[in-house]
Homo-oligomer: 276 residues x 2
C-alpha cells in the first residue's frame, strides 16, 4: 500500500512542516520506499514533482523540504508498490487535463478485476491500477459533462457516482484536485485535521519537529490537512468513515457523502456557496 497527504486552504500555504513528517515514512519510520511525488497548484498551473527514489533519500524531496512553495491545493504520495514495478511512470500523483484545467490524482489501495473500457481520451502511461482508475474517472466525468465543467454540486455528485463504481473493485482511498477543490475518498483509512484560529503548536509523530502555527498564520487562515495516518501527536485528527467522500474548498468541507450506515453521525457542512 501507499500513503497519501493533501492540503486544502483558503490562502496559499506551505506544506513543509507536514511534508517533513510524511517524507520520513518513505524509508525512515515506514517502508514506503518505492517512489514518491507531490503536486502544487498555483494559479491554474501545477508543479508536479515525481521520483522513483525513496523520498527519504531523493534530492528532489530535499528541495521540497526546504523550498516553501505555497499553494491552496497540494497532493503528495509515497509509494509501496503492489501493482507495477518501481519506475517513474508508476509514481503518483498523476496529472491530466480536463475542461482546460489540470487534474491531479493519488491513490492508496488495490483494485481487483478492474479492467474498464477506456475510449482513448485518457490512457495510462504506466501500469498501475491507480492510473487506470484515474483515466476512467476523468473519462467518466467527461462523458457526463462533455462540454464544460459543471457546478460544484453536480461535479461532486458525478465524482461520487464514479467513485462508488470503482470502489466496488477494492480499496480506493484517493485524493483528487483540479486546483479549486480537493476531493478525498476513504475506503479503509484516511484522516483530516483543520488548522484554524486560535492556532497552537503541533508536534510531528515521525520526527523530532514541532511548529507554533501562531507565528506563521493569520487569524482568517483555514488550512485542512488530509493524511492516511495522523502526522501530529497533539492535534484533533478526524477519521473518515468507510465510503466517505468529502470535497474541501477553502479549507472547509463544501460537499460530503457518507454511506447510510454512517449518516446517524453528525455532519457539519461549511457554508460554501455553490449555486448551479
Amino acid at each position: 500500500m501507499c500513503q497519501l497527504l493533501a492540503l486544502n486552504s483558503n490562502q496559499p500555504a506551505a506544506i513543509t512542516f507536514s511534508f517533513e513528517g510524511f517524507v520520513a515514512r518513505g524509508g525512515l519510520t515506514d517502508h514506503h520506499r518505492d517512489g514518491w511525488g507531490i503536486a502544487f497548484f498555483e494559479d491554474t498551473g501545477c508543479r508536479l514533482f515525481v521520483d522513483y527514489e525513496a523520498s527519504i533519500t531523493s534530492p528532489v524531496a530535499q528541495l521540497i523540504k526546504h523550498y516553501p512553495i505555497k499553494s491552496t491545493n497540494i497532493i503528495a504520495h509515497i509509494r509501496r508498490a503492489t501493482q507495477g514495478k518501481v519506475s517513474l511512470p508508476n509514481c503518483h500523483p498523476f496529472m491530466r487535463e480536463l475542461w482546460g484545467k489540470y487534474w491531479v490524482f493519488a491513490h492508496n489501495g488495490d483494485l481487483k478485476n478492474f479492467h474498464p473500457e477506456l475510449s482513448g481520451n485518457y490512457l495510462p502511461v504506466g501500469v498501475t491500477d491507480s492510473e487506470i482508475a484515474f483515466c476512467y474517472l476523468l473519462q467518466s466525468l467527461r462523458e457526463r459533462h462533455p462540454h464544460r465543467e459543471p457546478c460544484r454540486a453536480a461535479l461532486f455528485a458525478s465524482v461520487q457516482e464514479i467513485t462508488r463504481e470503482i470502489a466496488g473493485h477494492g480499496v480506493f482511498n484517493f485524493l483528487l484536485s483540479n486546483g479549486d477543490a480537493m476531493f478525498a475518498h476513504c475506503s479503509t483509512n484516511l484522516h483530516w485535521v483543520q488548522r484554524a484560529y486560535p492556532f497552537s503548536t503541533a508536534q510531528l509523530t515521525d520526527c523530532e519537529l514541532s511548529i507554533d502555527f501562531r507565528k506563521h498564520c493569520y487569524p482568517n487562515d483555514l488550512i485542512t490537512v488530509i493524511a492516511t495516518k495522523p502526522l501530529t501527536s497533539n492535534e484533533d485528527w478526524q477519521q473518515f468513515s468507510r465510503g466517505e467522500l468529502n470535497m474541501f474548498v477553502n479549507g472547509e468541507i463544501a460537499e460530503q457523502y457518507k454511506p447510510a450506515a454512517e449518516r446517524s453521525k453528525p455532519v457539519v457542512l461549511a457554508a460554501v456557496p455553490h449555486a448551479c
Copy 2:
C-alpha cells in the same frame, strides 16, 4: 520571444553542462526572465519542472544544475513573454498524454490570428498561443490516427503537415517529444550539434565553463543538442533552414523535411529503421 534547448541521445545523458549556459540567458547574459521549464523523459515517464521565476534565480533551476538527471530526450525553455502574463500556467514546456504516452512541447515564436477550433480533447490551461498550438497539434494527430500511434514515418508526415498549417500564422520554432523521438522545427532560428566519437572539449559562450567530453562519454555515445542559438564557441553547430523539420532518434536525424528551396543542399539521413 523565448529560447529553446533540447537533447536527444542513444544513451541516457545529463544536460547539466548545456543547461548551465542556457540558464544564464534567463536573466544574466540575456533577457528571458519570464519563467522557464525543463522536461526529462525517463522510461515512459516524464519529470516536468516549471517555474515563473527567472531561471538565473530559481531554486528549482539550481537543483537541476547540480542534479544530473539522465535522459535520452530532454526539452527546456526560457521565456520572454509576448502573449500571456508571467505565471505558472503560461510556462513551457507543456505536457499532455496521447496514445498512452506523454508528449512535451516548447515553442519560440509568435502566432497571429491563430484561433483553431478545439474539439475538447486538448484544451489550454494558460493563455499562450504556444499552448493552443500544442493542443491543436495533438488534436490533429489524434484525428489522423485515432486508434494508436502510427509508425515513425507516418507520424513524421503528420507532424509535418500540421506544422506547415500552424506555421502559416507566424513564427513557429518548436521542440516536441514523446520520449522516443525529438521533433524540432525552425521558422526563423534553430541550431543543432552532434557530439560523437572522438569527443573533444567544449567551451560555453554564456559563462566561463568548459568540459572535456572524453572524460564523460563512451565511444558509442551519440548526443544531439538543439538550441535557439549555439551554446558553445568551439563546436560545429549547424543552422536549421527556414521551414526545416527534423525528427531525431538515438542522437541522429531519422526523418527530415526541408522546403523545396532548401533541397539542393545535401541532406544526410541516418540509417534508423522505421518500417511501417
